[in-house]
Subunit: 218 residues, 2 copies
Amino acid sequence: MSLSEYFPVWGKLSESERQTLEHSATLRTTPKGTVLHNGSADCVGLFVIRSGQLRAYILSEEGKQITIYRLFERDICLFSASCMISSIQFEIIIEAEKDSELWVIPVEVYQKLLSDSVVISNYTNQIMATRFSEVMWLMDQVMFKSFDSRLAEFLIDESGIEGSVTLKITHERIANHMGTAREVVTRMLKYFQSEGMVALTRGGIEITNRKKLMGLVK
Amino acid sequence: MSLSEYFPVWGKLSESERQTLEHSATLRTTPKGTVLHNGSADCVGLFVIRSGQLRAYILSEEGKQITIYRLFERDICLFSASCMISSIQFEIIIEAEKDSELWVIPVEVYQKLLSDSVVISNYTNQIMATRFSEVMWLMDQVMFKSFDSRLAEFLIDESGIEGSVTLKITHERIANHMGTAREVVTRMLKYFQSEGMVALTRGGIEITNRKKLMGLVK
């Protein structure tokens, strides 16, 4: 599979634009846990995800995290090239959540295409609007939803991503996704267990009553 | 003052693009309190703010609000024309926070320019990135900052916007900006008063020790 299959606007690009993208993109293999982009400290380029899973999160001065969004196969990561767009004034960290393969398009190459091609520029607008929508969804969740509802939805989403009712994830890791403390997660999971919705095992969580858990999602 | 003075990329537009914008834009005067855009219920067009102040906020099912950002003279409001960009999948409400004057550029006019002009498209990208940055700032605040710090910063910002140490604003209104309950605001303001940082008056708040209040801002 070549880059063209992963780039939705490929058919609208000129022959020379396609060649520029194909010749400049490099395929990178990255193990789970790798930090691929760290705020304004780097500007590595656009990632086009061929396989695997990335996580974008913000970090407080005290080390608290919250996951902003996830990226999957065929998604494009714009903010690893955030220096391209001067009005982007925030710091996010992108890490490989699973072993991943991604094409890296160099910043200067994409920036040139962005300033010359209305197709690329409008496509970039759509990518940014998609991420913006995910952040607005999260804002709605953290401001207006109770923690039991958010945690229930997180577990159901994770189960969908992994394709399994058994989740191998620590309470610490869940806390880092949700922007809370481990103790808060553990307390709520124990309550879910007492209600028969999950079973807590060593290093994992099994969803035992999906329907009841779904009932908590507002 | 004509529209051209408020449109930063005017100099880079073609003569015909300028004429299209000038001929299609209508100047609208709107009193304080008017709801100018209500989520996906309308798609009224781009606003270019000539004078006044707008507020963008989200609303929960229970009627809770939180201010996402504010727009001032020379700002451009993109999300009142959010139907232009299909990937924008969130609902915000825009209201006039003061008596305001704005040019309205019809959706179909701007959309045509967006799909034809790389200058307009890149400019739109910059506008979206600016709003995105404001929302990310807010996310950082609500997730990682304590309420006393957020309220202190809000009061100092308000004082800057109004150019006065006396703020005519109700506790209810502050709660709607900050996404919390009125009682929470009142309790914290009373604490600020007991520490000599503010004086609470009927229908207003006076900042009496700005330096001490600033000390709370993390």
